[in-house]
Amino acid sequence: MAEYLSDGSRRRVAGVRPGAVLVVDGDHAAAIVGELWPTLSPDSTTAVIERLTAGGLSSTPDFALVTWTEHTAAGAVRVLVRGDFEVTAGSARISGVDVSTWTERLLDEAAEFEIAALGAGAGAGAVDEWNPIVDGVVPAGRVAVPARPTSSARADAAVAAAVAAVAAPVISAAGTPAMPAPNTTAALSAPVIAPAEVAASEHTIAPVDEATVTDFIESIPAPTIAATTSSDEAAPGDHDGLTIASVDIRRLRAEREAAKQVGDATPLSAVRRESAELAAPQPQLRLPDGAIEPIGHELVLGRAPSVSKVSGGRLPRLVTIGHGDPDISRSHVRLALEGGTVVVTDLHSRNGTLVVAPGRPPVKLRAGEPTPVLIGTVVDLGGGCTLQVVGA
């Protein structure tokens, strides 16, 4: 449950839903929040940004959007702030001041946070009172999640209460100089219409399944197997007594499966996880020619892409790009969906691969190292060949 402080000016309106809070400033705040509120969810970042920026960047209102995944105790909290808002989460303060677009941040340890409008009138309305809210749209300049333990009508003590609740200092917004925002100029190097999504973060490492799980030594047939087979030698058709029988294969596989179960990398659970992913919206890839390619299970892109020893019957899709451009390697980059996260791997390409998350400087991938990226990230293969990860 969240709590909010009413905004007397009624210029700022907050929409609260499980897993998401959106506060918008401006003349049309009520209309915008009213429109977006029914769809607010931990996954609605794209929809919100698209609505808010629908009239272009200059007419985009100041806003703060915080989404979080509920089932994780202190799960990832995604924060987007534009203009005169500030979000405090633990020791992190994220402000939209001095940023031409908006600030985006992914925090992984924030269990509590507070959104505060900066400037005159914030929290200084007619009713200086924290009220609880579960779900709804209210005029509010400040919203705290979860509700403060000492909810009361103590108007001026609200900040103090927040300090107590959040453990790390929550600094009252009014008059506090805003923290310098992270450098967002890099967003401009991405396509300007692009930053429909959120910055990459090192905190989103998804579990990377080994495509070919190492077989355990224990599963290697000991000489006893040959002996077993030899004892069955009398069976007609077993030509040399050396070729292994199916029953042994079956047993070996069972042992191997058992070993994998122990190793917490069971192929069965991987399959189940993948089928669960299918139900969720699938990230896609915008190719240099504008075509959209579903990332699906796995993509390998390059001038003449190839695949080497994949197991399990699911093949990567091969996508030919940069035909005839010697800057692009034959198998340049791999994109895969792993645990619901898009993972980009540079396939030891000659000229490397850059990833540009909106609001972040470009990062050169280390060859062969799977790197998780968020929706909106631009993947630059060089030679003017760029890809963008987009939502479904």
Binding site: I220, T229, G237, A245, R253, A304, L315, T320, S331, G383
Partner: protein, 291 residues
Amino acid sequence: MPGDVEGIVSLARGSARIAHSARSDVGRVRAVNEDAFLAEAPVYLVADGMGGHAKGDAASQAVVATFQRHLESGVPPTPAQVLDAIHTSNDAVRALSDEGEEGTAVAGTTLAGVVLVDTGDGVGFHWMVFNIGDSRVYSWDGRRLEQLSVDHSAVQELVDAGLISPDDAERHPDRNVITRALGADEVVDPDIWLIPAAGRQMFLVCSDGLTKELDDDRVASILAGDAVHAAGMAGELVDAALEHGGRDNVSVVVVESTIGEGDDDDADATRDRGRESVETTRPRGEGAADG
């Protein structure tokens, strides 16, 4: 080459000319040839059957029949269609075993092969290499023989684990123990490679009856020579294996494809070695001078 059969596969742009030679022999020791092969453009595979009650040859032949039924001759299938044929083959081999049968009575077979596939983006055709068991697929570029497939065998696991050297593996008493086979399990788990199809490429698909008699150098020297055998290069290789002892059934399919002649401006494509392809990429900034 004498003994070669040529097939034409129509592609989106132009066509692929694929010549092949194929031969299977019972060997000098065995009474029954449990190997089977399929060599019909664009599908080339070898299956090495095993199992009691004469089920070994039934198993390998079931695989060939399934592939013939599933994949249209002369048309590159999609990778998914090839996977489907592999999984259906597994069902067909399992159907040969009676309920409750165990041990050597159960039918099983290896499967290794190459299929020219349409990967679907309109640009790329690929050679899809697949393997279950210890039959093998090699590529041959005129100078170097490169093993593409990785055996599913006990000794291969020992080699991978660093416990024995590849040379030891050839002499290991358990070298016939395989860890994957069609028919062994409800769901089969093939290893797959996709190699861009361009220019002139050669593949060797064979059962272990060849590779347990002849080492890679010997195979390479035969491939580098001329084939005078009526069954072409495959005939030469099988003959050599028989001369060396022929202790197992020997099956060999040699595939030589030529794609997009004159239409290929990609100079390095003719030296395609799949996995090492990145070497041929030009470093940025240096290329202008080199041209």
